[in-house]
Amino acid sequence: MTMKFKHLTPLFFLTFAILPLAAGLVYALLYSLGMVGALGQGFTLQNWQSTLSDVSFWASFGVSIVIAAMVTGISTGLALGLLLWLRPQLEQPTVRFLLHWPLALPPMIAAFFSFQWLGSSGMLARIALHIGWIDRIDDFPNLINDAWYFGVCFTQILLTFPFFLLLLRSHYYAANLPNFAQLAATLGASSSYTHTRIIIPVLLQRAAPTLLLYFVFLLGAFEVPLLLGRQSPAMISIFINQKFNRFNVADLPVAYVVTVVYSVLLIVIISIFWNVRKRTLQPTLSPDS
């Protein structure tokens, strides 16, 4: 590698990895302040004032944070529980192979599957009708596009917890936990004591950076809420997409304001992630992890 190439590499990285995001965010900020764009008439805070006083904006952020936290929490709990309970079964090659299958399911396809199964004329409704749980199609509860975001949460958990299960399983062996558990048992610790005081804390500490990063991905989820979520309050990616795609150009500054707020939130979370990652000293995105 020549010296010239060495100096050009950071420049290439900045041009294609950082500059597009930075330029996009600066443009969004300037647009939200009325300084660029077709509607720009000079510096104004009016777009910010109107957006920040809009209930639907806060509802969108609230719904997104609650769903992302709930899916991360439930998936982590499920993965931990299954890892501890089904560990002998999880070591069988066929089981391990099939555990990877949900990773081959992109969010759009998982959402389509849930749409087909959870909808009012879906497979679950048909099964319920055949076994006599319901008499008419209207008797089946709304499980998609519903007020409680059941369809979105179910689908996200279906996609997330197998990944968490594989992640925690790899940490389980990387942290040498079978030997620690055996040592604890030799010293007289009960199984539940070993689980709650040794295995779960170690696993959570090691997996914390990845769990936090996954929370960020879920916060910005798009395909699943697009098919299965509600229009209002919409999750944040849907909310921003709606504002950008509406025919009313007055919505554009609002879209840019929300984009800037989302970015600030992301920067805060990534900073926390970075600190957690440094503390745990665990590389989370290496090919071996």
Binding site: F12, A17, F97, A104, P107, I109, M123, I270
Partner: protein, 258 residues
């Protein structure tokens, strides 16, 4: 009990693939039927969508895009990570690489849209390719960052000590020992592109019709049989990679794709 739970769990994981495959062969499967009423047909698969949907062209677009994105991102990520991992400000570069990676692709696409519009790249294959490269390039760097550890550096230095040129060190040492990591990165970036929907929809304006874009259109048109077919096609490469991983690369001495 544990055995039953395991079987139920695995059935849940396999069910989407089985159901979508069956739906792709169905013609009439309406409420309240539990199974297709009018039997199964190969028509949706054999006519390549020529009677509606044109999924064959979408599959080709997705394939070309994913291969190009995978190759370019892997090559660029490998070269960049090699330099940045040895840079005095290594930690800063790594932190910066996380931001575009963690950003929601659809929101990122809206941020970029203005620049793509003024460059006439919106709605073009090259525009979507560039946008997906911008998305996958930081990911590739993150994948390779930990790969370039002191052991690899020592091996490279040994080549120079033994009189090897920079070219020989790169092609005869670095690339061969990095082959598993290169493969993993290619497949991961290939799959990101193959699965991508939001960014492609915003930058491609619906004119670059990949399989994921097609699936959403089919669902909107209530053409569920062809949507299921396109879903099967989308799931095929990752399942194939999983099988290859299980069959060949899980053997001792090989890298792991999954």
């Amino acid at each position: 009990m544990r055995r039953i739970v395991t079987v139920l769990l695995l059935s849940l994981f396999v069910l989407p693939f089985g159901y979508l495959l069956l739906l792709s062969f169905a013609t009439g499967w309406r409420f309240p039927a539990l199974l297709p009423e009018e039997g199964l047909t190969l028509d949706h698969w054999t006519n390549l969508g020529s009677t509606g949907g044109n999924w064959g062209a979408s599959a080709l677009t997705s394939l070309l895009l994913a291969i190009a994105v995978g190759l370019i991102s892997t090559a660029a990520g490998f070269l960049t990570a090699k330099q940045l991992a040895a840079h005095p400000r290594r930690s800063l570069w790594l932190t910066l690489a996380y931001f575009p990676y963690a950003f929601s692709p659809v929101i990122y696409a809206h941020c970029l849209k203005f620049f793509f519009n003024v460059s006439n790249l919106s709605g073009a294959f090259s525009g979507v390719l560039l946008a997906q490269f911008i998305l996958t390039y930081p990911f590739a760097i993150l994948l390779f960052f930990n790969h370039f550890d002191p052991a690899i550096k020592a091996m490279e230095d040994l080549t120079y000590t033994l009189g090897g040129s920079a070219r020989a060190a790169f092609w005869r040492v670095l690339v061969p020992i990095s082959r598993p990591a290169l493969l993993i990165c290619f497949f991961q970036t290939f799959l990101i592109s193959w699965f991508e929907y939001g960014l492609t929809a915003v930058i491609g304006l619906g004119q670059v019709r990949t399989l994921t874009i097609a699936v959403y259109q089919y669902i909107g048109e209530a053409n569920h049989y062809v949507a299921a077919l396109a879903s099967c096609l989308i799931s095929l490469p990752p399942l194939l990679l999983l099988w290859l991983n299980q069959r060949f690369l899980l053997a001792p001495g090989h890298g792991n794709l999954a």
